[in-house]
């Protein structure tokens, strides 16, 4: 960008817009590749014609595309986007670079709900992971589990002022929920254990179209809340005292941000299982790439970057050319951990978020 002709402010804006456009293009490419890959080979030409409704004759391909690949790709996009956005919000509110969507203990709460269903009550009715009924049951259990933790966190956020105390309490809730999950695991039989472990590895591919609709609706509410708090998040970077002196209602703002994060990460955990690292890593990548602290840029940036990363992780998990699929959680962790290490070592100066 020619800085002789544009002011640094303008060139920064142009840079951000160009980067966003590049990332969106990348997202669309990965999305298409995601639709292309799979055990059954469907040519690109046919995929496009099926997608736009020109081709109604190839029934099997149509059902593969609309029942499996498209829901899965869309799930990858929304899952990556919502985890990244909620991670960004948590890092800003807690002023802690290692905060993520799980720090409030919400995904642990969801795990507890699912563990209760699969491990606790599984013995009373033959639990089958593949039926629609049991998948809805898991989702509802996860929602209740994360909902309980959410209300605990919101309650303390209105009572307790010190943000560090809230952080520690959130971690304690998570540990308590995990402890109960461990006890349940200890007393359950092999097949139930396997079902739970498979859930805890995360999956993007188990959603039906109607489940995807429910997921997207609740995520929309979460995204609206986070977009409405963009400007306040910028002020929160300066800390509590400055925010108060500029007229920010700290408790109300925290309530809104926690609510949005809980909806975003809670529903993703409920529908896809606990997906690790995307929420911590993507905000750091977004800050490095976009070189800004402005949440009006960072929130859309995290949305697109999270989607790109999740699509990429899904592509890798399918092991192109082979029939088997890796658990998505392991792929995001293997992709994510080097980035976290890099953040900690290379940017010691920048490691603090605010």
């Amino acid at each position: 960008m020619s800085e002789q002709f544009t002011s640094p402010d303008e060139s920064r804006k142009i840079r951000s817009s160009v980067l966003i456009i590049v990332l969106i293009t990348l997202m669309l490419c990965f999305f298409l590749v995601n639709l292309l890959l799979g055990p059954v080979k469907i040519p690109v030409r046919n995929i496009i014609s099926i997608l736009f409704g020109y081709d109604n004759n190839s029934g099997v391909w149509q059902s593969i595309l609309f029942d499996f690949r498209l829901p899965k790709a869309i799930t990858a996009v929304v899952a990556g986007a919502s985890l990244a956005v909620s991670g960004l919000q948590m890092q800003t509110v807690f002023r802690n670079p290692l905060a993520g969507p799980d720090v409030l203990g919400i995904s642990s709460g969801a795990s507890l709900g699912v563990a209760l269903v699969i491990l606790g009550f599984g013995r009373f009715f033959a639990f089958n992971n593949s039926t629609v009924l049991s998948s809805w049951l898991q989702i509802i259990a996860a929602c209740i589990g994360s909902g309980v933790v959410l209300f605990l966190v919101l309650f303390i956020s209105l009572r307790i002022r010190d943000i560090m105390t809230i952080l520690i309490l959130g971690i304690l809730f998570g540990s308590a929920a995990n402890a109960v999950v461990n006890i349940l695991q200890y007393f359950s039989n092999q097949s139930m254990l396997k079902a739970f472990v498979v859930w805890s590895m995360g999956s993007l591919g188990n959603l039906t179209a109607s489940q995807l609709q429910v997921l997207c609706l609740s995520l929309l509410a979460g995204f609206l809340l986070s977009v409405s708090s963009m400007r306040v998040l910028n002020v929160l970077l300066l800390g509590e005292n400055y925010s108060r002196s500029m007229g920010v209602n700290i408790k109300f703002t925290r309530f809104l941000v926690f609510l949005s994060t809980s909806i975003l990460s809670g529903s993703i955990t409920a529908f896809c299982g606990p997906l690790a690292f995307v929420g911590i890593v993507v905000p750091h990548l977004a800050r490095m790439i976009f070189k800004t602290a402005d949440h009006r840029v960072l929130i859309p940036a995290c949305f697109v970057l999270g989607a790109v990363l999740m699509l990429l992780a899904d592509l890798i998990s399918q092991l192109p050319g082979s029939q088997s699929v890796l658990p998505i959680n392991s792929v995001t962790a293997i992709l994510g951990i080097p980035v976290v290490i890099w953040v900690i070592i290379a940017n010691r100066r920048l490691v603090s978020v605010s």
Partner: protein, 340 residues
């Protein structure tokens, strides 16, 4: 906005401190305070560590609730002023140091417009003008595109003052704006606050430990002592011995000759210093450090005569043992230290 006889800031029996809602335990840090400020002026709060300077400033800003008493801003009770209206009346600069990656100086100053912008934070022409004005008045134009974490402490403080100016409030409270700064920066910051009081007619209240610099710049000092708050022009407080109450039993006293506070010394011997100022003043200062009461002209045990010889200063000591000559104050004092 300002009417005659309506004070800008008025405190009525204000008590500050901390209360715990759970245990109903109240710990009052300071008060009751009664203060009445009519004019935009620069006020320095002086007090020993832990007396409650920061608590007072946080309470006045509205970050922390008062325990008892009332506070009026332009005649309206602070509790009845809404959060957003308060943010347009009072801005605050704290001692916190910020390490925000990627945040540029201009971005930080722009955040000061928060109380005036709509949900997306779009700036209008007036916002831009006020931001430019704030940057200009604090002299940070050259830092505009620098990341905040790369600034020196003094520059950071100026940027935070610019942010407060961008908030465009008639009242600014600052908590120890001179902490962590080097000597020139301390002078610079307090001079800047002084100029802002005059040019932009703002009420500026700040806490500081730099009493001697503050005494040169402020209109009024608030001394927070164990016996209550004493206010007045710095010179009034010198006349009515207000500072005595501040320092209590410690041996601080104001030396009217050097116009500075000094820790009083015990002198065991006396010496007479003859020569031109400033050499005589400097020599006296050094001799006092090693325990001599200095006199001028009167006869004492020793006499130091300062004179220039061949364009170099020489210190000649006349005593019982004869005459010795020294080329520097250090050599002079070393001689007496060895002798003892």
């Amino acid at each position: 906005m300002k009417e005659t006889d309506t004070p800008i800031l008025k405190l009525e029996d204000l008590q500050i401190g901390y209360s715990r809602s759970s245990s109903r335990k109240v710990s009052c840090v300071y008060g009751p305070l009664n203060v009445d400020i009519q004019e935009p002026e620069m006020i320095g709060i002086i007090g020993r560590n832990g007396i409650g300077k920061s608590t007072l400033l946080r309470t006045l800003t509205g970050i922390q609730p008062a325990l008892k008493g009332r506070m009026f801003i332009y005649g309206s009770e602070s509790r009845k002023i809404s959060r957003s209206a308060m943010a347009r009346l009072i801005s605050y600069v704290s001692t916190e140091t910020l390490h925000i990656p990627n945040l540029q100086v201009a971005d930080l100053v722009t955040l000061g417009r928060f109380p005036y912008t709509t949900w997306f934070g779009k700036l209008n022409q007036r916002d831009t003008l006020i931001i430019e004005d704030a940057i200009e008045h604090t002299g940070i134009q050259h830092l505009r595109y620098k990341p905040v974490y790369k600034l020196s402490d003094g520059e950071k403080q100026k940027v935070m003052i610019a942010r407060a100016l961008a908030q465009d409030t008639p009242i600014i409270f600052l908590d120890e704006p001179t902490a962590f700064l080097d000597l020139p920066a301390r002078h610079e910051i307090l001079r800047l606050l002084h100029d802002l009081t005059r040019k932009k007619s703002k009420l500026i209240v700040f806490s500081t430990h730099d009493l001697s610099i503050a005494m040169d710049e402020v209109d009024k000092l608030w001394l927070m002592t164990g016996e209550g708050l004493f206010e007045g022009a710095p010179e009034d407080l010198l006349i009515n011995q207000g500072f005595r109450k501040l320092f209590g039993n410690s041996d601080m006293e104001y030396d009217t000759r050097s116009m500075a506070f000094k820790f009083s010394r015990e002198f065991k011997r006396s010496i007479s210093v003859l020569g031109e100022p400033p050499y005589s003043t400097y020599t006296s200062k050094a001799m006092e450090r090693i325990g001599f009461r200095t006199t001028q002209g009167e006869t004492a045990e020793y006499t130091i005569t300062i004179a220039s010889e061949n364009n170099a200063m020489q210190w000649k000591v006349t005593g019982r043992d004869g005459i010795s000559t020294f080329g520097s104050i250090y050599a002079l004092t070393s001689f007496f230290m060895k002798e003892r």
